[in-house]
């Protein structure tokens, strides 16, 4: 109010009271605007769930819960089941995590302990920038560069090599298409790799230097410090980060759609083409005619949202607990 008094020296008491009241009203209005914005965020979330449920309703009524584990997908006879898509989503994501988590942790160890100091920042920044590259780039590279190379140089020799080994020959049976479940998993793992490395490195850097120095002082080797001090200390953060990455992998559309092959039967081998929930929706939604086709795709979306919600929510709870621990 100081400036009012300065500019208009002869300000009357009622005018000043009015100005103060205006400020108060503006104050409440501003708070209400921010509150409304916060409620809109909640509204969007509720809207997403509601719209998925409403969109899926005809299909939910027609197929019920068995939809999830039915493995038929036939738009002509309007018989739909989610299992090939759900199976593809789970398998590709877990295979991708299986590769990306150890490699990502390896990169983080390299960046925090082994890498020459001069290179740490540039490599770290490069990895963070790569984490921001859109998934469609990974997809197009997978389709044009990786899949043809993989088909000739890995799949063919691999299939020949395991041809006489009892279990493996079934798991990796079939002609080498290049595209398929394994290819999609590999592209996914390359895509989530920078993300996992960046998160893990950040968590490693929160480990107090004193703890590490104490361990080194006791004569631990670098590996023992990483395995017995840094990793246990950072465990919750690493797991939380990995779960966030899993959430991304489960819902990833473009990196997978290019190279999964979009085959709607249960894949008979890991090299065979398959599909994922997001790839099915992306490929078929605009062509979905009939009363049950589009609702079944919504139903798939609902299942996907449900799975990722569980994964992301647990990731959040873990990371929150970690923050609280760091805060005290």
């Amino acid at each position: 109010m100081a400036d009012i008094a300065l500019h208009e020296q002869m300000i009357s008491v009622p005018e000043r009271a009015q100005a103060v009241a205006r400020g108060g009203a503006g104050d409440i209005r501003f708070k209400m605007v921010t509150l409304a914005a916060a409620l809109i965020v909640m509204g969007i979330f509720a809207g997403v769930i509601l719209s998925l449920v409403i969109g899926a309703m005809p299909s939910i009524k027609a197929f019920g819960l068995p939809f999830v584990w039915t493995d038929k997908w036939n738009p002509v006879t309007e018989k739909f089941g989610a299992w090939p898509s759900v199976f593809g989503t789970l398998v590709t994501s877990f295979l991708a995590m299986f590769i990306a988590v150890p490699v990502g942790i390896g990169i983080a160890i390299f960046l925090t302990e082994i890498c020459p100091r001069l290179l740490r920042r540039p490599i770290g920044i490069a990895i963070e920038l790569l984490a921001g590259i859109p998934s469609i780039i990974y997809g197009i590279w997978g389709l044009f560069v990786f899949a043809p190379w993989f088909q000739v140089h890995v799949q063919t020799p691999f299939i020949d090599a395991v041809a006489d080994i009892p279990v493996l020959q079934d798991v990796f049976a079939g002609p080498p298409y290049g595209i398929g479940i394994v290819t999609a998993s590999l592209i996914l793992s390359i895509m989530i790799l920078p993300f996992i490395s960046a998160v893990t490195r950040d968590v490693f850097e929160t480990v107090p230097a004193m703890l590490k120095e104490a361990a080194y002082g006791l004569g631990c080797t670098t590996w023992e410090v990483m395995w017995r001090v840094v990793l246990p200390f950072a465990r919750a953060g690493v797991v939380g980060g990995a779960m966030l990455a899993l959430g991304r992998a489960l819902g990833e559309t473009m990196a997978v759609t290019f190279v999964i092959g979009n085959a709607h039967h249960m894949p008979h081998s890991l090299f065979a083409p398959g599909t994922t929930i997001s790839a099915t929706i992306a490929n078929e939604f605009t062509e979905a005619l009939g009363d049950l086709y589009a609702p079944s795709l919504f139903y798939l979306g609902l299942i996907l949202f449900f799975i990722t919600f569980i994964v992301l929510a647990s990731a959040q709870l873990m990371l929150r607990a970690l923050e609280r621990r760091a805060g005290t």
Binding site: F110, G132, V145
Partner: protein
């Protein structure tokens, strides 16, 4: 002493082995990423020529460019940022300044972080259900709306984080001068956190410039020069997807050119954002 020597040797060997593995992991991971960038730049640069920026997407077998897709992407991203930024800014402000430890703020934060990493294709389904199906048509507005849904959580998250970095002493000093709370927020905390908030908006732009999945069935696509947001509209990522999946060689070249444009945009924006970003402690 003998066993001790053996133990030390074993530990040294284990150390060497595992450190070798982690160097190997780093090399392995970085090689793939380098290969992707190499392919992208070599294929992309050979496909980029002035026509890319002057002509519209061609039918197969003819010459053409990507200008309609570029314009569509800029239009929809622009609308999404203009709509999403204020919303995200206010919601983030609520979380950091008013809600903080409240129950509502807890839920909003939780929900926001879920939306932040929720599958983007689900966003497309959501907008389809509320905008495309009721209005009987795909449109640029629907595409922009689906991108807005992606912008908001990014801006909310960074706004809250950046406001929380502002020292409470600043707020208290302003309050002691008699400033109402809304003035404190607008004139003091927002100003102190400005660089960080702008970073957040830039990250949101980077994030949506490559988003494909939510546009597939909201904005759809268009092979004409369309600036009418009430009609289906082309966008770079969707064109890249469509052209890459096609069997035509010349469409593949344009897809690489588009992919390079997207990556260059995203990298430029994220580098600017990083330069602006306040130092983390």
């Amino acid at each position: 002493m003998k066993t001790n020597q053996g133990l030390i040797r074993r530990r040294r060997i284990a150390n060497g082995f595992f450190l070798f593995l982690s160097v190997g992991a780093a090399g392995f991971g970085l090689i793939w990423l380098a290969l992707i960038l190499y392919a992208l730049f070599s294929e992309g640069f050979s496909a980029i020529n002035p026509k890319v920026f002057t002509e519209i997407t061609p039918p197969p077998g003819e010459d053409g460019g990507l200008i309609n897709a570029i314009v569509g992407s800029v239009l929809m991203s622009g609308v999404a940022v203009l709509a999403g930024t204020p919303l995200g800014l206010f919601a983030g402000t609520y979380l950091a300044e008013y809600g903080r430890y409240g129950r509502l703020a807890f839920f909003v934060r939780f929900v926001n972080d879920i939306l932040l990493s929720a599958p983007s294709i689900v966003t497309g389904l959501f907008i389809y259900e509320i905008l495309v199906a009721p209005l009987h048509g795909f449109s640029g507005w629907a595409g922009a709306a689906s991108l807005t849904v992606i912008v908001i959580p990014v801006v909310v998250r960074t706004t809250e984080n950046m406001l929380l970095l502002v020292p409470n002493g600043l707020r208290e000093a302003a309050a002691a001068l008699g400033a109402p709370r809304s003035n404190i927020i607008r004139a003091v905390t927002w100003r102190a956190a400005r660089a960080g908030i702008i970073t957040g908006v830039l990250f949101a732009v980077a994030r949506i410039s490559g988003e494909t999945a939510p546009l597939l069935f909201t904005a759809l696509n268009s092979s004409f020069m369309n600036k009418d947001m009430t009609q289906p509209i082309a966008s770079l990522p969707v064109v890249v997807f469509q052209f890459a999946m096609s069997p035509y060689e010349d469409w593949h070249h344009l897809a690489w050119a588009g992919a390079l444009l997207i990556t260059a945009t995203v990298l430029t924006i994220s580098i600017i954002a990083r330069l602006l970003e306040p130092k983390r402690h």
